[in-house]
């Protein structure tokens, strides 16, 4: 899908091409926004804005060919989320959505396989880690999310965030320090049990 879109960039992108590309990227972008914003409704809004910005950029006459449309879309999504997070700092009266509302949209994996207990446990730690992202600064959160959840290289993260690799390393180092407890439980709980 992304290749087809890539081939057509430079000319106006048709709605059909854009739709199929959006279908392939929508879930990833939504989850990225949700992890960064910690709020389903804000993530929904950020995802919509991301695709609208992408659509507008693709249909601008001066749009150029993109090497990696996925990375380009990620950059738009991350910047949209950072804008929303900056804006949220002023909205101290905002209410967080209830976990019940989130569970209507996010379906966590059902415990049906032989390692069900482990999966449930991993899910709990995963959610704890997501909540712990609030301890991080905006840049640290963005860098950590891109590394942990999207498995991006440091060079890619640097490109997406518009930073140099050294700065990304500093952000990631500080993020892992702040999340030490959660990361310990995520990766080394087995050793703790033994």
């Amino acid at each position: 899908m992304a290749d087809r879109l890539e081939a057509s960039l430079g000319a106006e992108t048709s709605t059909r091409e854009f739709s199929s590309w959006m279908l392939s990227e929508q879930r990833r972008v939504f989850l990225l926004c949700r992890r960064m914003l910690q709020d389903v409704s804000e993530a929904d809004s950020a995802t919509q804005d991301t695709f609208l910005k992408a659509w507008q950029a693709l249909n601008r006459s001066e749009s150029k060919e993109l090497d990696d449309p996925g990375k380009w879309l990620t950059r738009i999504a991350v910047n949209t989320c950072l804008d929303k997070l900056r804006s949220q700092r002023w909205q101290f009266w905002r209410k967080r959505p209830s976990p019940e509302d989130e569970s209507m949209i996010l379906e966590f994996a059902r415990a049906t396989n032989p390692n069900a207990e482990d999966q449930v446990f991993a899910g709990q730690i995963g959610r704890r880690l997501e909540q712990a992202l609030e301890k991080l600064s905006l840049r640290q959160r963005a860098a950590f999310t891109l590394r942990h959840y999207e498995d991006r290289s440091l060079a890619e993260i640097a490109e997406i965030l518009g930073l140099d690799i050294g700065t990304v390393k500093v952000h990631l180092f500080r993020a892992t320090e702040k999340l030490r407890e959660e990361l310990h439980d995520l990766y080394f709980r087995e050793q703790g049990r033994k």
């Binding site: 900056r86 804006s87 995963g126």
Partner: protein
């Protein structure tokens, strides 16, 4: 060489530490690296998003295509509050600084005194020097 510590493994997971000759030759540490990769994969793969929600989101996006994105400055609330504070402060300061208005009677009385006097009013303070 010593086995890698928990801190080493965590830093490696996040690209902050390179593999060294010890890890390349140590089956135990290599096994741990593989386990950690699997562990992370298991955690990040968990949330699934409802298809109905995604479909509804796509409908909203299609409806908004072609319409401008409402893109206020992210610090809009801060800017609005700051502007309001500036307006209130400037009004308050102006009111406080402005000289009290004099009544018509007082004005006419002053004018009459000035007219009757054969010296300019500004000379009065100089007279005070010689009053003693």
């Amino acid at each position: 060489m010593k086995h890698w510590t928990e801190k080493d493994f965590t830093e490696w997971m996040y690209g902050l530490k390179e593999e060294d000759p010890h890890v390349a030759g140590c089956a135990e540490c290599r096994g741990e690296l593989e386990r950690l990769k699997l562990e992370r994969g298991r955690t990040i793969a968990l949330p699934e998003v409802s298809h109905d929600f995604l479909a509804s989101q796509r409908r909203s996006i299609y409806q908004r295509l072609g319409k401008p994105i409402s893109n206020w400055h992210p610090m809009r609330w801060g800017i609005s509050v700051a502007a309001l504070v500036v307006v209130i402060l400037s009004v308050t300061l102006n009111t406080w600084k402005s000289t009290p208005a004099i009544s018509d009677e007082q004005l006419f009385s002053d004018l009459a005194t000035m007219e009757q006097s054969n010296e300019p009013k500004a000379i009065a303070p100089i007279h005070k020097f010689f009053e003693e």
